[in-house]
């Protein structure tokens, strides 16, 4: 029997709300740390320096070849055997960041490779040193290609965080399980949790659309009418 009353009480249960907040910040922080790491790994894999290429390649191979769940348990429960004891949240962050960065590095690599060679040549011909070529010319154009799959990864990560409940991080799923234990309304509790996830991914979808429009500047541009040109010129003056 379905109880609407139980369902609604789960929906505004502070236990779940706090759990949802943990899920959001865990995802955001993991992504924010994983992305720069992914750029470094992608650069390492494209490097001419062979040892660096081997190390970064091996890292991606290891992280993508083993389940995150196993990695998390090793980090939290296994490493203390070697004397390395990490807190719950630290363990979760280390696992999520290391794992996510490996996947993101592939997205970064594909993005960088998608920028035509002529772009970096034009930048070099102007006299830009290598890091400026990368930061000013290659990266902004790579981002345009990277944002859709990156957004996809963020969406996935929101849900992947449920795995850290296994090492007792009190994110949304674990909090829901606690709440359910008081009245055993499993269906109502987990439906409420599912709605939370749905709300979070939907909101993210809107953010992603805005991001895509922002990094796509110049690319959707169509030959403009006189009026649009004048507007663009005006906009320039007021900037």
């Amino acid at each position: 029997m379905w109880s609407w009353e139980a369902f609604f009480s789960f929906l505004h249960d502070p236990l779940l709300l706090q759990g949802a907040w943990t899920t959001v910040w865990l995802t955001a922080v993991s992504m924010a740390l994983a992305l720069p790491l992914a750029v470094l790994v992608a650069l390492g894999r494209a490097s001419g320096f062979v040892p660096l290429r081997l190390v970064t390649g091996g890292y991606v191979w290891l992280m993508r070849g083993t389940p995150l769940l196993v990695q998390l348990v090793i980090i939290y429960t296994g490493l203390p055997q070697l004397g390395l004891r990490l807190g719950v949240i630290t363990s979760a962050l280390v696992g999520l960041v290391l794992n996510e960065a490996a996947y993101l590095s592939e997205i970064v690599r594909a993005g960088v490779l998608s920028v035509p060679r002529g772009q970096s040549e034009a930048a070099r011909a102007l006299g830009m040193p290598p890091w400026k070529v990368f930061r000013v010319v290659v990266m902004p154009q790579a981002l345009r290609v990277m944002v859709p799959p990156l957004g996809n990864s963020f969406n996935g990560l929101l849900k992947t965080t449920t795995l850290v409940s296994v090492i007792s991080v009190e994110e949304l799923l674990r909090r829901t399980q606690f709440a359910v234990q008081t009245n055993f309304r499993v269906l109502e509790g987990l439906t409420a949790a599912a709605l939370y996830y749905l709300a979070m991914t939907t909101l993210w979808g809107l953010v992603q659309r805005w991001l895509e429009a922002r990094v796509g500047r110049g690319h959707q541009a169509r030959p403009s009418s006189g009026r649009r040109t004048r507007n663009a010129a005006l906009e320039l003056e007021t900037r």
């Binding site: 035509p116 002529g118 772009q119 040549e121 034009a122 930048a123 070099r124 011909a125 102007l126 006299g127 830009m128 040193p129 290598p130 400026k132 000013v136 010319v137 902004p140 154009q141 345009r144 500047r217 110049g218 690319h219 541009a221 169509r222 030959p223 403009s224 040109t229 663009a232 010129a233 906009e235 320039l236």
Partner: protein
């Protein structure tokens, strides 16, 4: 010596695997000279042009621009970040324009001064606006490259190269990717630059430009300089069989 030497290339060689693309090219260009480089495709002329700013590194030989050896310092081969500093003296215009698609025409032109010379953005944009006006694009400053025709894009690319105040401009087939009716507007800008005394090396098949604006024609085939003379002499009395065959095919 009253007339300064801008480019001095000596025995420049380059090969890719077994293919010898450049087999020892010599070229001297003085200040204010316009040199047209002609030759069959695959003959090495673009590769040679690109060795002049070390977008291609020669296997051997030397390139000296305004008295400075490119790619090498007192302690041997330079790192890319140091070669970048040397490239500021040389502007380059590409066949495919290679404008930055995510920047407006104005920001394309300002990119060099802002990111290489650290000129304040407002100042660089003001200067960029003047350059765009000079190439006849004063009303297109806010347009993105995708909103411009090929001829307009190439004129923005020329303005972008000029923004660094180069001593030398390299043109790699600047009109080959253009529709015929847009070739003129780009050549006009190049002729005007010549009148202002810009030193230019132009890889191109534009015979009209060769006759109207070139001081010398250099014919490169099979990785060597076959002829190097004034346009009048080059077209009227080519000395070599290879040159005559080439001219027969394209004229």
């Amino acid at each position: 010596m009253t007339i300064e030497t801008v480019v001095e290339a000596h025995q420049v060689r380059k090969s890719y695997g077994d293919v010898d693309v450049l087999k020892g090219i010599d070229l001297t260009v003085r200040q204010g000279e316009v040199v047209l480089v002609l030759g069959p495709s695959g003959g090495g002329k673009s590769t040679f042009l690109r060795t002049l700013n070390h977008l291609e590194t020669p296997d051997s030989g030397t390139v000296t621009i305004c008295g400075e050896r490119i790619g090498y310092g007192e302690k041997g081969a330079l790192r890319e970040s140091r070669i970048a500093l040397q490239r500021r003296r040389t502007g380059m215009v590409f066949q495919q324009f290679n404008l930055f698609p995510n920047m407006t025409a104005l920001d394309n032109v300002a990119a060099g001064p802002v990111h290489v010379n650290r000129v304040p953005r407002a100042e660089a944009r003001a200067a960029a606006g003047e350059l765009l006006a000079m190439v006849g694009l004063a009303d297109k400053t806010g347009n993105y490259p995708a909103q411009l025709s090929g001829g307009q894009q190439q004129r923005v690319a020329i303005a972008r190269a000029l923004a660094m105040r180069p001593q030398l401009l390299l043109f790699d087939e600047p009109t080959s990717a253009l529709d015929p009716e847009m070739v003129g507007e780009v050549l006009d800008v190049m002729v005007r630059l010549r009148e202002e005394g810009m030193t230019m090396i132009v890889v191109s098949h534009e015979m009209g430009f060769a006759r109207a604006a070139a001081d010398r024609v250099v014919f490169i085939s099979d990785g060597v300089v076959v002829e190097d003379k004034s346009p009048d002499l080059f077209f009227a009395a080519p000395e070599h069989q290879r040159t005559r065959q080439f001219l027969d095919r394209i004229l």
